[in-house]
């Protein structure tokens, strides 16, 4: 009897194609084998990137999503495979990154029996995913995949985990593509309240010292034009969160730099002097606010947010403007009057000068002593004409990277902000090369973080993925060492690190590598790296005990930044 039934695994592949998936990061194993078997027939349309560890698959999917704006997708097996994705899922949750992780699972009949490679993936990922679902029947595949992608990308994006039982992969079903774009219990984008829009405009029009904080929400909402229209009309200076750094060009005159613990002096100090604080698509993380009890107490606060549960979570907002910031910013701009604010804006200049003199210039243009992380970052940025994608790992490499890299284009920062996941950088950079194949992807990574996911050099080798790896090697877990220096009486408890020969490791993977020790060799080495077709490891032997400054010590007030360490 003729039948048009297909396996659940084949339905998964067709559903992924239906969702526009062209790149899939994954690692096969027992319980996902039927899906990998189906994938074998879809190699023309779905480019599967074999990673070297499942953590790498999720971080790569994150990197892909962050630069492309599309949903990143990873596929792994059950049990340990699924558990290895957990860090990445949690990371994507806190950084609002749209990914779908598909895990194999034991057959439905074995669920709950402690079967081989069975882990309660739904239970484990429930608190760290935007949604998760166990597919136990082949006929649910199309619906579940479509719902997963819709939830991952809509509203405030986030990770979705699909736990795909083996029987659902092998059972036969009729396949009809599904298109979920409505869930009655889920309102991804709150309706715009016109009264809030007018109230926001009124507050802005009456403000003499407005200051705007922008976060990744601008990038996620593709709202750069709307943002610029508003701030240029009302002359509002802007500070960026780490994930919002490329939401506005670095050289825009109203861009006053990065917020937070290691951000710029002006935006932090003046947070406590503005009369109106306008937060857009950011969540008042403790790394941004410092001591919450003294944070912007003098100012009225407007919070533009897509997620209602963020309102008043950390900082009390006098006015909440709910909705997609692309729409709400445009709506407010209509009612906002042209303003000058030049006297207020000039105040940032005073702090810029001070920071430049005491911190920035010595960090990016040193004339003697060992190579510094800051100068490496700035030179790489300049030699890519500030057009590259910045990927960082976590630690000093991340803080120097975010402080001194410069941006012209949107979606140019890929870093683990909320979770601070060491080991994120290398696989995320691989993902970024697939998400933005036409752009240069520069990864800044420390000797600690590189070794957490160093196996992904294998993926780079196999894919010839053009990641420009800039290893800022200081033989320390630098950021922890800095804290030990400052707050633990210089007791370097397990932060010095004996390192392998990274050039030899790169050589083993067939990746071209070079080490820079002398300042005079830096430019040539960076040019060599950028001109090399394909991956490159540039190891920079940087000052061992360098500190990221300025710094708001943990728990201190936002305007109490240390410019130097005595």
């Amino acid at each position: 009897m003729p039948t048009n039934k297909i396996t659940g695994a084949e339905a998964l592949m067709r559903s992924l194609e239906h969702e526009g998936v062209t790149t899939l990061f994954g690692y096969p194993g027992g319980a996902i084998m039927p899906s990998y078997d189906a994938l074998y027939d879809h190699r023309d349309t779905i480019n599967h990137i074999l990673v070297r560890h499942e953590q790498g698959a999720v971080h790569a999917a994150q990197g892909y999503a962050r630069v492309s704006g599309k949903v990143g997708c990873a596929i792994v097996t059950s049990g340990p495979g699924a558990m290895n994705t957990v860090t990445g899922v949690a990371d994507a949750m806190i950084d609002s990154t749209p990914i779908v992780v598909i895990c194999g699972q034991v057959g439905a009949a074995f669920l709950g029996t402690d079967a081989f490679q069975e882990v309660d993936v739904i239970g484990v990922t429930q608190p760290i995913s935007k949604w998760n679902f166990q597919i136990r029947r082949a006929e649910d595949v199309a619906w579940a995949v479509s719902r997963a992608f819709y939830i991952a990308r809509s509203g405030r994006p986030g990770p979705v985990v699909l736990d795909f039982t083996k029987n659902a992969q092998t059972d036969l079903t009729e396949y009809q593509p599904k298109h979920v774009d409505f869930i009655r219990s889920y309102r991804p984008t709150p309706q715009i309240d016109e009264a809030a829009i007018k109230a926001a405009a009124k507050l802005i029009n009456h403000s003499e010292r407005p200051f705007m904080l922008i976060g990744q929400g601008i990038e996620l909402g593709n709202a750069r034009q709307e943002l610029l229209a508003l701030i240029e009309k009302a002359n509002i200076p802007v500070g960026c969160t780490m994930l919002g750094l490329s939401a506005i060009p670095s050289d825009h005159p109203l861009n006053k730099g990065m917020l937070g613990m290691h951000g710029n002096l002006g935006p932090n100090v003046l947070t406590n002097q503005c009369d109106l604080l306008i937060a857009v698509g950011m969540r008042f993380d403790d790394r941004v606010t410092g001591n919450i009890a003294t944070y912007a107490r003098q100012a009225k606060i407007i919070h533009f947010e897509i997620d209602p549960s963020e309102i008043n979570k950390n900082v009390h907002a006098d006015l909440a403007v709910l909705g997609d910031c692309k729409e709400t910013l445009a709506a407010v701009t209509k009612y906002v009057q042209v303003a000058d604010n030049s006297e207020w804006i000039a105040r940032f200049g005073v702090y810029e000068k001070e920071e430049s003199l005491k911190v920035i210039e010595p960090a990016i243009h040193p004339t003697h002593g060992p190579l510094l992380m800051g100068e490496v970052v700035r030179r790489v940025s300049e030699l890519t004409h500030n057009e590259a994608v910045l990927v960082t790992d976590v630690g000093q490499n991340q803080l120097f990277g975010c402080r001194y890299f410069q941006f012209t284009q949107s979606r140019s920062v890929v870093t683990s902000g909320g979770c601070g996941t060491m080991g994120f950088g290398l696989p995320a950079a691989i993902g970024a090369t697939f998400g933005a194949p036409d752009r240069t992807v520069c990864l800044f990574v420390g000797d600690g973080g590189l070794q957490m996911t160093i196996q992904e050099l294998g993926t780079i080798m196999e894919q010839h993925s053009p990641v420009k790896i800039i290893l800022l090697n200081n033989n320390y877990l630098g950021n922890v060492r800095q804290w030990q220096y400052l707050f633990f009486r210089k007791r370097y408890s397990f932060t010095p690190m004996l390192n392998p020969d990274y050039e030899k490791i790169a050589e083993g993977y067939g990746i071209k590598a070079r080490t820079v020790v002398e300042r005079t060799d830096l430019d040539d080495a960076i040019r060599d790296m950028l001109q090399t077709d394909g991956p490159f490891l540039l190891q920079c032997a940087v000052m061992e005990e360098d500190n990221v400054l300025p710094m708001t010590p943990p728990g201190a007030n936002v305007d109490e930044m240390m410019l130097e360490i005595k």
Binding site: I122, G123, Q126, P127, K130, W131, I151, F182, I183, R184, S185, Y186, R187, D307, P308, S309, I311, N312, K313
Partner: protein, 176 residues
């Protein structure tokens, strides 16, 4: 000041949602005083009645975080004056002690509780009322040292609001 709040939540009838809801309390380190889950008057929709002691800021955040869950339709919190709240309690009492001390049956009558079963070993008392009335009856009976077993169900509540917020929401969403 910690107040007794009742959070009334409606969700789709999917597996695992109760877990998601209680996890919000756990993260905020708020203890659930009582919890009742049942199907609601709307087909396919489950109703959760959860009581807890906390301050208003906390209950506000908890409620919003519950409502953020994909399959939760609505979550609202109420103080006890905004809802009609009832709870059922069952007491297993020692019959010999009841016969010895007339105060026990007097206490039962004063609270308008019902004796629903009697044999020579034990008697069962059923009481429906406000949570604090159950507390009071339990304390009185316990003082008389006759309680063998005691159990109470989670508080159930109906809003005193003249508007039906879930119906309004569903109507609005269906008209989108």
């Amino acid at each position: 000041m910690d107040t007794l709040y009742t959070i009334i939540t409606y969700s789709e009838n999917f597996a695992g949602i109760l877990n998601q809801i209680t996890a919000v309390f756990t993260r905020r380190q708020v203890n659930i005083e009582s919890l009742n889950v049942c199907s609601s008057s709307t087909p396919g929709v489950h109703k959760y009645t959860i009581t807890c002691y906390c301050d208003e800021e906390t209950v506000h955040l908890i409620t919003k975080q519950i409502e953020k869950k994909i399959d939760v339709l609505q979550a609202r919190y109420y103080t006890s004056d905004q809802i009609f709240i009832q709870e059922v309690a069952l007491f297993k009492l020692s019959t010999p002690k009841m016969l010895e001390q007339p105060d026990i049956s007097l206490t039962i009558r004063q609270h308008s509780a019902k004796i629903v079963e009697v044999n020579e070993t034990y008697s069962i008392v059923n009481f429906t009322g406000l949570p604090e009335d159950i507390d009071s009856l339990y304390t009185s009976l316990n003082t008389l040292d006759c309680v063998v077993q005691f159990v109470r169900c989670g508080a159930i509540a109906i809003t005193k609001n003249r508007r039906e917020l879930l119906d309004e929401y569903l109507e609005k969403i269906n008209n989108l």
